[in-house]
């Protein structure tokens, strides 16, 4: 199921939406029998810092490659800057306005950074003028590679290669920057710098489309996200709106079966304002209290508590829950994401109308987390 969260506004107060500069409709890619991307419909607006999130193998990179004309879609359409992407001339013209780093950046290993960027300039149709050379120097300076600009690319560390990739993406002052895992190989300081760089690009009105596993980073810099799993879009919208939708009331219990009993009590009560609940467990299978996240408005916390006490299930703690993007992501993608994204924080969905026992849910989730 795809979750698209849109702001609810009256026509009188609606703000004009920014121009959609990149959209896909039913984008599908099949490699033989394997369906890598399945009917993906995305919408990136001018000025967005848009994150494409998903577990490994979910189709993020394939999607970005299709957007860059490297991989041909099996079906579906792509529109960039309002132009259909299918014609050669239109696609090539659109790509001139895009800067991109796909997967680990690759350059000619026997050329130095300046020469490699010279090649990028050539591909972008730029003449080897003093202006182009100045721009290359500026791009290298932006990513801190000036002191090593004369070294052959093969001598660079992974982090330096990543920086050169970003410099290449910035070279032509693109309207849209596509970054695939831009923080791969960077140390914490480098990650912070990339975050700052993305923020600066956004301030300048550059639209950024990125994929990342670092959900905390994404939450800090991105305005909109799309979450894909097994090639399918499962959620898309503004970060704030997605998180707003996943707020709830978190109930903690001292007894191992407390959360299960609470879920059954809520199911029996059939509360219209609390339609879903999820089991949460932090730490190992025997440590820590069982917890139940109920998708209910914060102001209903006292009502929930009263209902459960009345049913003989007294929570040890009732508190308002503000979901992080990571939690939201995990709640949508489930176990598939656990191994790589959150080894210490497991979740198993438990729809209230089909309560699942913690004993059934936890060991599997914990095992996946532990293997990460």
């Amino acid at each position: 199921m795809t979750t698209t969260v849109a702001p609810i506004t009256s026509p009188a107060t609606a703000q004009p939406q920014p121009e959609v500069i990149l959209s896909t409709q039913g984008l599908t890619k099949r490699f033989g029998a394997r369906l890598a991307v399945d009917g993906l419909s995305l919408e990136v607006r001018r000025g967005d810092v848009f994150a494409l999130l998903g577990p490994n193998g979910s189709g993020k990179t394939t999607t970005l490659r299709m957007l860059l004309g490297l991989v041909w879609p099996t079906s579906g359409s792509i529109s960039v800057f309002g132009q259909d992407f299918s014609g050669d001339a239109r696609r090539q013209a659109a790509l001139r306005r895009i800067g991109a780093v796909v997967e680990q950046p690759t350059f000619y290993p026997y050329l130095n950074a300046r020469e490699n960027l010279g090649g990028i300039a050539t591909f972008a149709g730029l003449a080897a003028t003093p202006q182009t050379r100045a721009r290359i120097a500026w791009a290298l300076d932006q990513v801190g590679l000036t002191p090593r600009a004369g070294d052959a690319y093969r001598k660079y560390s992974l982090g330096m290669k990543q920086r050169l990739g970003i410099a290449a993406a910035l070279l032509t002052d693109p309207e849209l920057v596509i970054l695939d895992e831009p923080t791969n190989g960077l140390d914490p300081a480098g990650i912070s710098e990339v975050r700052a760089l993305i923020a600066r690009l956004a301030q300048r009105g550059v639209t950024v489309l990125l994929s990342s596993h670092l959900l905390h980073e994404v939450q800090q810099v991105c305005t909109r996200v799309a979450i894909i799993q097994v090639g399918r879009l499962i959620a898309q919208g503004a970060v704030s709106e997605l998180l707003q939708a996943s707020r709830g009331v978190l109930l903690s219990f001292d007894q191992p079966d407390g959360a299960q009993r609470a879920a059954q009590a809520l199911y029996a009560a059939t509360l219209p304002w609390a339609p879903f609940a999820s089991y949460l467990h932090e730490g190992g299978p025997v440590a820590g209290p069982w917890r139940l996240l109920v998708s209910a408005p914060h102001e209903r916390a006292a009502d929930l508590n009263a209902l459960l006490v009345g049913a003989g299930v007294t929570p040890a703690e009732v508190r308002r829950h503000e979901a992080s993007l990571e939690q939201y992501f995990l709640s949508l993608t489930g176990g598939a994401a656990l191994a790589q994204l959150a080894p210490a924080y497991n979740t198993s969905d438990a729809h209230v109308d089909a309560p699942q026992t913690p004993a059934e849910a936890t060991p599997d989730s914990t095992t996946q987390g532990g293997q990460a």
Partner: protein
């Protein structure tokens, strides 16, 4: 460290090192941009210095050994009092050009396909193809740039060898070595130019095999080994077919087999070289197993096939490297 900058993009901080220049905009016609791409391909070849130096050294050393051998033969026969103008021709101008031409036809060809294969295949092994394609360079245009760059390299390599041969020949002539009389006139220079073009076409055609196999195999090894295997198979197949036709009683099938070698690439580009160097000064033996139109058509068809298959493969391929 990624430098801080102001929202307008200028570098900030205590000591901004590079001011923000205006972003350059693409300029120039399609042809100008294409010429830049070709120049880039040539630059990539030039910057693979280790390979260029190694292959260039092999080429020059091999040529030098042949010249020294020819000189040794001349000295030996001079000592016996048997040296004639025919021995001197190999070391004087323009006869020395045939040594250079023959050398580049075989040894130059082998080294050229190694260079071409390395350049084509490394686009896949280094995963650099996406750099150009993701920047809006069309696949057909990229392939065309590679082909034009390869043609220029073929012309350059053969020109270099012929100039070297001319230099050796002029030195031999200046040293007074005996030679068959040759009239230095416009017709001779015309012949040399056509000879040069035919030699370049020979190595270019086999370079296209490197392009074809390299594009299909997406590997350096395939791009280098492909033309070498092609040459080997072509030579062996030519010999086998000729032998079959010679020892078997003529019938329709044998007649067909007997004609097959005339459709091998090597036979046809060889015929073009032979024809190009046939006069007014005999740089080649002038023996032709096929007619000029036949040789031209077959060579062009081969080249078109190599280019066409490469284009179809590249244009329909997903770039996953």
């Amino acid at each position: 460290m990624i430098a801080p900058s102001t929202p307008t993009g200028s570098t900030g901080g205590a000591a901004p090192s590079v001011a923000t220049p205006a972003a350059p905009t693409p300029g120039g016609s399609w042809l100008v941009e294409f010429a830049r791409l070709v120049r880039w391909e040539l630059f990539l070849a030039w910057r693979r210095r280790a390979m260029v130096i190694t292959l260039g050294s092999l080429l020059l050393v091999g040529y030098l050994l042949i010249i020294l051998f020819q000189f040794g033969v001349y000295i030996s026969e001079s000592a016996d009092g048997q040296a004639s103008a025919i021995q001197g021709d190999a070391l004087t101008f323009p006869g020395a050009m045939s040594i250079g031409g023959g050398y580049v036809t075989y040894i130059g060809l082998l080294l050229f396909v190694v260079l071409a294969g390395a350049l084509i295949g490394s686009e896949y092994s280094y995963s650099t193809l996406r750099l150009s394609l993701a920047r809006g360079v069309g696949r057909g245009r990229l392939l065309a740039a590679q082909i034009v760059a390869m043609a220029l390299m073929a012309l350059g390599l053969t020109a270099l060898m012929l100039l070297l041969s001319a230099l050796v020949g002029l030195l031999g002539t200046a040293a007074g070595l005996p030679q068959t009389s040759a009239t230095i006139n416009a017709a001779l220079f015309g012949e040399l130019i056509v000879y040069w073009l035919a030699l370049a076409l020979n190595i270019f055609a086999y370079g296209l095999i490197a392009l074809w196999i390299g594009t299909l195999s997406r590997s350096v090894a395939g791009a280098i080994a492909g033309p070498l295997v092609f040459i080997f198979v072509e030579v062996v197949a030519g010999e086998i077919l000729t032998a079959i036709a010679a020892v078997t009683r003529p019938n329709t099938l044998v007649n067909l087999i007997a004609h097959l070698p005339a459709y091998l690439l090597g036979v046809n580009v060889g015929a073009l070289i032979s024809l190009a160097g046939d006069g007014p000064y005999p740089l080649t033996n002038g023996e032709l197993s096929v007619s000029l139109p036949h040789a031209l058509i077959v060579t062009v068809v081969y080249c078109a096939l190599f280019v066409g298959i490469s284009y179809l493969a590249l244009s329909h391929r997903d770039i996953l490297e």
